[in-house]
């Protein structure tokens, strides 16, 4: 929540359903959140929790899937992207909102040169001439750390390594000075030493271009060093949100507790066994009537099986969807005073 109070992106009661043979898959279930200009937000969850579907809904790609139904609203700078005519959305997509995809190998068209890939957006959105666009592309490639960019602009994606391709994709994403970047697992396909380079680059670019970034990931380590605010998703719902430091120190949702405890960390002594979250994530076509996490939750009571808890404030800037978040807060408080 930005200190200035202004909002760049506001999702209200967004739901995305997919019709399938096994019934309707509720990929995203009534989620609401805001992003302030220039804010770095982490959207964390496991595969199938709806984090990528949320991102593609924001950039208007979900609407292109024939069996998808979207409800709610996605307001970008006060205008609802879902009710806006397609040509207006097209002017925003790629210019004001840009996306960085997970897999740099499959998301760059292999038959187009880097020059074509880079200049397409610049010419389309900013109306640049081709020669200006090429010049700007070379600058951008330099900015994302591609050595001898002028010599490499005629190359094709296969001539670049994975890390370099991810840099090209980032250069394409920032080329039109977007106000919002959606980074969907931007470093999952990369090695650790390359991951460190890319995360650093994203942070720097966000600062220099004053762009808000939503980092979508399953890796808690990636968002810990980068994002100031974290949203945790489970089975299509946001189950907890809050400032990164508070949320990592004292999670207010048992799923977040489980996630944080199930990963070993380099800065902690080794433990004999890792704490696990028992069971499996639920089938999104047949969600349980109460809290979706109840079947795996160590705090679950009858109440949790009967009704789904709402996302409610638990502390300054913090929300949690759990009937027992008070218990977690008290336990954390006792730990601090002890």
């Amino acid at each position: 929540m930005g200190a200035v109070g202004d909002t760049l992106l506001r999702l209200t009661d967004l739901s995305v359903d997919f019709a399938s043979q096994e019934g309707t898959v509720h990929a995203v279930n009534h989620i609401s959140f805001d992003v302030a200009p220039g804010e770095l937000v982490g959207l964390v969850g496991e595969s199938g929790c709806g984090k990528s579907v949320t991102a593609s809904a924001i950039i208007g790609l979900t609407g292109m899937v024939p069996n998808a139904t979207i409800s709610g609203s996605i307001e970008f700078q006060g205008q609802d992207l879902l009710t806006m005519p397609e040509d207006k959305v097209r002017a925003i997509r790629g210019r004001d909102i840009a996306m960085i995809f997970q897999d740099p190998v499959t998301s760059l068209n292999p038959v187009l040169s880097i020059e074509r890939l880079m200049t397409e957006g610049l010419e389309l959105h900013l109306g640049m001439s081709h020669s200006d666009a090429v010049k700007r592309s070379i600058e951008l490639l330099g900015e994302v750390g591609i050595p001898k960019a002028a010599n490499r602009i005629k190359d094709y994606p296969h001539q670049f390594s994975g890390g370099m391709r991810q840099r090209v994709m980032i250069a394409i994403a920032i080329s039109c000075n977007p106000k919002m970047l959606l980074a969907d697992e931007p470093t999952t396909a990369l090695d650790v030493t390359i991951q460190a380079q890319i995360l650093r680059l994203l942070k720097k670019l966000s600062r220099e271009h004053e762009a808000a970034v939503i980092v979508i990931t399953h890796d808690l380590g990636v968002v810990a060093g980068m994002c100031r605010r974290i949203l945790v998703m489970y089975a299509g719902r946001i189950v907890e949100s809050g400032p990164a430091k508070d949320l990592f120190r004292t999670p207010h949702h048992p799923y977040t507790v489980g996630l944080l405890k199930s990963v070993p960390r380099l800065n902690e002594p080794r433990r004999d066994t890792l704490q696990t979250i028992s069971g499996l994530p639920p089938d999104l076509a047949h969600l349980p009537p109460g809290c979706s996490f109840a079947p795996r939750c160590y705090l679950a009571t009858d109440e949790c099986w009967a009704a789904a808890p709402q996302l409610e404030p638990t502390d300054a800037g913090r929300l949690s969807a759990c009937f027992h978040s008070d218990q977690l807060r008290r336990a954390a408080g006792a730990e601090v005073t002890a």
């Binding site: 595969s47 090695d191 390359i194 380590g221 060093g225 990592f248 070993p264 080794r270 433990r271 696990t276």
Partner: protein, 360 residues
């Protein structure tokens, strides 16, 4: 002969100067060899009985090829793999198959490594059939027992792999590996394809099985936090070579090789407060291609401490720099080694050597 062994007494698997070079050929009929991918380029290490040896490195460093070459799934180009003293590289046919009973593999992708047309009972029972172990009834009983061991309901043995989740399939893969009661298991990235909340379940299962059956693991992974959790000793690979090998606490506590230092520093910690205090070292450039590995020390092109005329010319040997601590770096002399830290722009620089500086 230098071998990276902790003690010589209880070695289960010894790898000596192992090399796997994949030929690159040209031409349609007369395939000329025009080059080679130097996937594994001179590995020497021991796996002690009952331990977990972690093998870490970035993609393309040859860690999976190493695992496969040890089990002779890929034939090594040169070098020896000694299992309880006997060389596997010379074995063929039935003799090799007999040895395979004692070493098994758990694969990375639980979707691709189970035959989708076989029931899980048949999948787990197949190794028993191949090695002609037990009667039909005995095999069936064994399969049920194995399913129970890995935490899957034995009544599901007539189901097919697609009816199970990723984590359950990985358990089935583990049960198959355990079927012939091996001593040694190569775990090739066994949890990378799984969800975060499922990973911990599989790691705990692997550790529990190790205690129960006295297994020896070669645990191949790129996730350094997981390797630290599960391993007794850890070997770090870079472009087909081991650059450092030490006891877990030593390697993570005081890494000496510049690459290990940079690699460990790059691992993000899921704790914003720790991340704020930390300055990760950024290495420049990418991992070079194993088709044309750099001359001399393979890491010299990215190493902030590299010395011209030495590191780019001479291959460093894997030396025992301290008891039980092996490293391959010209700049480690005695117990002095280059300290890597984040300099300007977080790029890796050398902070100087420990204990009175480097020898000239």
């Amino acid at each position: 002969m230098s071998t990276a062994a902790a003690t010589d007494g209880d070695t289960l698997v010894r790898v000596e100067d192992l090399r796997v070079h994949f030929p690159i050929t040209s031409g349609v009929i007369f395939q000329r060899k025009v080059g080679a991918v130097y996937a594994v380029d001179g590995l020497t290490f021991d796996v002690m009985r009952g331990e977990t040896l972690g093998l870490v490195g970035e993609s393309g460093c040859g860690k999976s090829t190493t695992g496969r070459a040890i089990l002779q799934l890929i034939r090594p180009t040169t070098g020896r793999v000694l299992y309880e003293g006997g060389d596997l590289a010379n074995l063929k046919g039935r003799k090799l198959r007999d040895q395979r009973k004692r070493m098994q593999m758990i694969f990375q992708d639980p979707y691709a490594s189970l035959n989708s047309r076989m029931t899980i009972g048949d999948i787990i029972g197949e190794p028993l059939l191949v090695h002609k172990m037990g009667s039909t009834a005995e095999r069936k009983a064994k399969v049920r027992e194995l399913l129970e061991t890995v935490g899957i309901n034995p009544n599901t043995l007539n189901r097919y792999p697609h009816e199970f989740s990723g984590g359950q399939r990985q358990r089935i893969g583990i049960a198959r590996a355990l079927a012939v009661e091996p001593n040694f298991i190569v775990c090739d990235e066994p949890i990378s394809a799984l969800d975060v909340s499922i990973r911990a379940q599989i790691i705990n299962l692997l550790r529990q099985l190790q205690r129960e059956f006295g297994l020896t693991y070669l645990f191949i992974a790129h996730d350094l936090s997981v390797v630290r959790h599960i391993s007794d000793r850890v070997a770090v690979m870079y472009l087909g070579r081991v650059v450092e090998l030490a006891e877990n606490a030593v390697l993570y506590g005081e890494p000496m090789h510049p690459y290990t230092q940079a690699l460990l520093s790059a691992v993000p910690i899921p704790d914003p407060e720790a991340e704020e205090r930390r300055r990760p070292v950024v290495l420049t450039g990418d991992v070079p291609s194993p088709v044309e590995p750099p001359s001399g020390c393979h890491f010299h092109t990215r190493c902030p401490a590299a010395r011209e005329g030495l590191c780019d010319v001479e291959d460093p040997e894997l030396n025992e720099v301290r008891p039980g601590h092996w490293a391959a770096c010209h700049l480690i002399t005695g117990s002095a080694y280059p300290h890597i830290r984040a300099g300007e722009d977080d790029l890796a620089v050398v902070a100087g050597a420990s204990e009175g500086g480097e020898t000239p």
